[in-house]
Amino acid sequence: MKLTKKTTATNNESTSALNGVLGRAIDRRAFLRRTGLALGAGAIASALPPAMMRRSQAQAAREMVKGPIEIKRSVCTHCSVGCGVIAEVQNGVWTGQEPDFDSPLNLGSHCAKGASVREHGHGDRRLKYPMKNVNGKWQRLSWDQAINEIGDRLLDIRAKHGPDAVMWVGSAKMSNEGAYLYRKNAALWGTNNVDHQARICHSTTVAGVANTWGYGAMTNSYNDMHNSKCMFFIGSNAAEAHPISMQHVLRGKENGAKLIVADPRFTRTAAHSDQFLRLRPGTDVPLIYGLLWHIFENGWEDKEYIRQRVAFMDEIRAETAKWTPDVVENVTGIPGEDVKKAAQTMAEHRPGTIVWCMGGTQHTIGNNNTRLYSVLQLALGNVGVSGGGANIFRGHDNVQGATDFGILSDTLPGYYGLSEGSYKHWARVWDVDFDWLKARFDDASYANGPKMVPAMNLPGITVSRWFDGVNETDENVSQKTSLKALFLWGHAINSQVRGAEQKKALEKLDLVVVVDPYPTHTAVLPDRDKEGMYLLPACTQFETYGSRTASNRSLQWGEKVIEPLFESLPDHTIMYKLTKKLGYSDQLFKHIKVNGEEPLVEDITREFNRGMWTIGYTGQSPERLKKHLENKHTFNVTTLKAEGGPCDGETYGLPWPCWGTPEMAHPGTHVLYDTSKPVAEGGLNFRARFGVEYQGVNLLAEDSWSKGAEIEDGYPEFTSDMLKQLGWWDDLTEEEKVAAEGRNWKTDLSGGIQRVAIKHGCAPFGNAKARCKVWNFPDPIPVHREPLYTSRRDLVDEYPTYEDRKAFWRLPARYGSIQAQDFSKDFPLIHTSGRLVEYEGGGEETRSNPWLAELQQEMFVEINPADANDRGIKDDTWVWMDGPEGGVIKLKAMITNRVGRGVVFTPYHFGGWFEGKDLLSKYPEGTHPYVRGSAANDAFTYGYDSVTNMQETKASLCQIRPA
C-alpha cells in the first residue's frame, strides 16, 4: 500500500505547549515553555506552520516576490555599535538579510535584534497613517489634515503662551541630518525646550567627561579593546546591551586581557569576567576611591603622566585618604581583599580601559561617578593610549549623533552652548538674520538658580522632567507658563520615571503629538477628556538614508533599503511639512534643496559640515562617507585604518574630530588624546577648555605635546590673534584670512585656523591638562552621596544628598527633603533596573517584532531566593511591586541568585500596561505590540543628577508582595 500525504484544513485550537527538553530549571528565559499561550487570542499572524499552509500576506515576502536581488547597505537601528546590515531587496520588498562581513565594526555579526531587523520591512504593528484621538477612540486622518490641525494648535499656543510652551522631544534614532534639523527647528521656533534620550542615558557622562578633559565621548573604540590588557566594566552589561562589543572584548581577553566587572548583579558580562565585584547600587564613588586608595598607597599611579597632563590630582589624593579599605567595604559591600586585588590587577595590566553605562550614569551623583571613573584612568595613565581610555558605550544607534547635534536643552549643535556668541555662529551658518532669530524667542528673563537669564540663553526643560514642566504651576517654571504642547518625536515615555505623573501631564496638555513608527506607550497611557492628541507615522532609518554616528565617533552612511511603509514619512519630510504650515520653512531650509516635500539629505550633511567646528564634524562630507561605505573591507579590524585602497590612511567612518574642510581630507581620530601621533594623522592631546590657570595651578600641559607639534609645550586654543603672534597668519589663503579675522578655531567658517594649526602639528583646541576638579560643579571634587531613596539610613548623615534648589533646568528640584524621610522600613528592597538583549529602549518597536517578542514574553522582576521566601513568593508567579511614591506595577517574579539579597532588578523595556491593567484596547487597531507589560519606571522615583537632571533609576527602593 502506498503511503500518501494527507491534506487537512487549519486547526485553530490552542494546544498545550511542549516543554523544552532541558526544562526550566536550567534555562533562565525558558521560552520553550512559554510558546505563545500567554498571548491569548491576540492574532499572531506569524504563527502559521511552515508546511503546506498559506502564509499570511505580510510574512511570506520571498515566496510572493520575484525579481532580481538588489543589495542595500544600512546600519542596524538598535544600538551604538553600528553593525552593518546588508539587505536583499526584490521589487521593493525586503526579502532577506546577509551578514556584513566586510564591516570592520561587526564583521558580519548581529545580536538577536540586529538579526531580526528585516521585520521592519513587514511592519505589521506599525503606525500606518496619521491618527487623532477623539473621545478615546483613534480616528484616521490625512497628513494634510493632521499637519493643519497640529499647526493651527501650535500657532494658537504660541500666540497665547509664547514659544516656550512647546516642548520638542527628539530622538536618538534620528539620523545626523534629522537630528541636526530637529535642533535647528527648535531654535527657529524660538525655544530651548528641546531634548532627547541622551538626557536619561549618558548626559552625566558627557558633562562629567567633557569637563574633565575636553570632549565627552568614548575615547577609544570597541575595536581598540583588542589592545587592552585590562578591561574594567562598572555598571555596564555589555553582553546584553552591546552584544557585538563582546566580540571585541573577548578577543581582547584572548589576547591576554583581564576582565573585571563591578555590578550589583552577576550579569552575563560578569559570567565572562576574571573578577566580579558585587556593588551596592549607588556606591560607585566609594569603590573607585577604594581602588585609588590602593593605587596611591602602593605608588602605582603614573606620576610622570600626572605631572605632565593632569591638574588637581592632589585634591583627589586628599579625598581618597578618607576611603580606607574598611570604610569602602562598609559602604559598598565589597570585601576589602577583592578591591585590593582589582586595583592590583589594573595597575599590573596596562594599558587598561574602563567601560561604564547606565549603572554609573543614572544617579543623583552621576556626574561625580563619571568624573571619578575618568580620574581613575588618569591616575593610571591610561588615557590617550591604544587599549586604554574611557570606553563609554552609548545607547541607541544614533544617540552619539543626536547628542553631538545638540538635541539638548542646554546647547545648540556642536556643544556651542546657548550664549549670544553661539547663536551668532549658527545664525551665520544658517544664513538667518540674528535679530530675526532673537525675536523668535521670548524676550523676558527668568531664573536659572540664583541668576536671571534671558529665555534665549536659558537652558530649557529636560526630557527627564517634561511632565513636571506640565504639572508645575506657572510661578514655579522659569518661563512664561508651564508647558502646553509636547512633541514626542521618536521617544518613549516609559523610559522616564513616575508614570502616574506622566499620565496626569499627558491628560493636562493641550496638544500631544507622537511622531514615531509605532504608537508607543504614550498613545495608551492617558485618559484624555479633550481632543489634541495626534499620532504621526515616522519611518525607520531603513526607509530613508543618511549618516549616523556610532559610539566610537565613526559616521556611517546608510542607504535606503525600502520606501517608507504605509503612509509613514522620513523625519526631515515631516519637519518640512510642519514648518511650512508654521511659516518658517524657507528659513529652515534656506540652503537645503527640497524635492517636492522631501529635503535633500546630502544638503543637510553639507550644511552641518559648514558649522560643526568644535568637534570636527566638518570633514565628513557625504562623498567621503559614501567612499567608506563602498570600501569597508579595506579597513584593518583593530586599528580601523584603511590599508591601501581608495581610503588609504583614513580611519573607518572618519571618527570626529575630523578636522577642517573635506578638502583638507583629515583621516579622522580613532583614539582621542593620543600624543604618539601627529594631529594630522589622528593624534591629539587634552583640550584647553577651562582657561590657562586656576588658583595658581597651571592648566596647560607640561612637557607633553602631540607628535610633531611645533609648540613643544602646553598652549591655549587657537584664535586669529594667536596665529598672528606665532607668525603663522600668512599661511592662510586670502579667502581664509577674511573669514578667520577676529575669530577662533570654532567660529572661523573657512576652517583655515584649524588647517594652519594642524599644518604646524598643533591641536586647534589647545594643549592642556585634564582637570580632576571641576570648580563650577556642585561637588568640585567628586564625593559620595547616598541615593535619595536609600536603605542605608546609617550613612545618610555622613554622605547626605544636596539641598533642595529652585530654578534648576527651569524647575524646582528636591533632594534633601526627600532623603530626610526614611522609606526603608516600608520599602526595604533596593530597586535597580537595566536592559535585556532582546529589547531596546522603551521597547514598542522590538516588542512588535514577533521574532524578538517570542523570546521575552513577560515583564518580570529578579528577586533573590531569600527575599522571595521572606515574602512567600514563588517562582514565576504574579507579584505587585510598590514604589515609595505610590507607583505600583504588576509583574512576574523570577527567583534567581543573579541579584544579591536585598536587591531586585527589573528590565525597563515593557510598556502598554498601567497599574496592573493591560491597555491593549487603547491601541489603534492592529498596532499593539505582541508583548506588553508593566513599565518598570512607573515604580521608580524622583531623583535627578545635580548637574544634568539625569534620573536616578539605578538606586531606588521598593516592596514586593504576592498578587
Partner: protein
Amino acid sequence: MARMKFLCDSERCIECNGCVTACKNEHEVPWGVNRRRVVTLDDGVPGESSISVACMHCTDAPCAAVCPVDCFYTTDDGIVLHDKDLCIGCGYCFYACPFGAPQFPQKEAFGIRGKMDKCTFCAGGPEENNSEDEYIKYGTNRIAEGKLPLCAEMCATKALLAGDGDMVADIYRERVLKRGSRPQTWGWETAYKEA
C-alpha cells in the same frame, strides 16, 4: 571534504539569541517553533555558561533510524534533511533525538503535532533548490548558493561556527591555543590557585 558540523564555543557565547532570530528571520519560522535555542547552565551564578543548540546533523542519526516512514536522508557531507510530504508527524524522532531538535508547529495539520520541522543546516529540503515550494516548506537553501548557515554567520561573538568540520575545528583550535593555559571560565583560579 569533512562532514558539515556546528560548533558552539561556550567561552564566547553570551546568550544573545542572535542565532535564534537569524534562523527565524531567514526561514520565516513561525511562533512556537524554535529550530535553534540557547541553553544556559548555572544561570545567574559564577560558572554560568551558555551554548547554542539545534540539530546536530548526526552521522548516525537517531531520528532517521526510528522514522517509521523513512522520511530522512543525509547528504554526503553529513547534512540530515527530511521530506515533510512524507512525514506523518508521529513524533518518534522527537523521542529519539538527544538534543530536542525536532519541532512541531502548534497549530496544525494532525491536531497536536504538525509536520516535524527542524534545523536544515540552511540546506532546505528535497524540493528543487531555492524554489518557492522549498522555501514555503523548509526555508531558504543557503548551501545551494555556496553560503553557510545564517545562525553561525551572524553569531554576535563568532561563538557559533558552522561548516566543514575540519575548518571549524581549525578555527576553534586556534582560539584555544591563543587562550593558552588560562581558560576564561570563572572558577579556574579557585580550582587551581596557588597553595
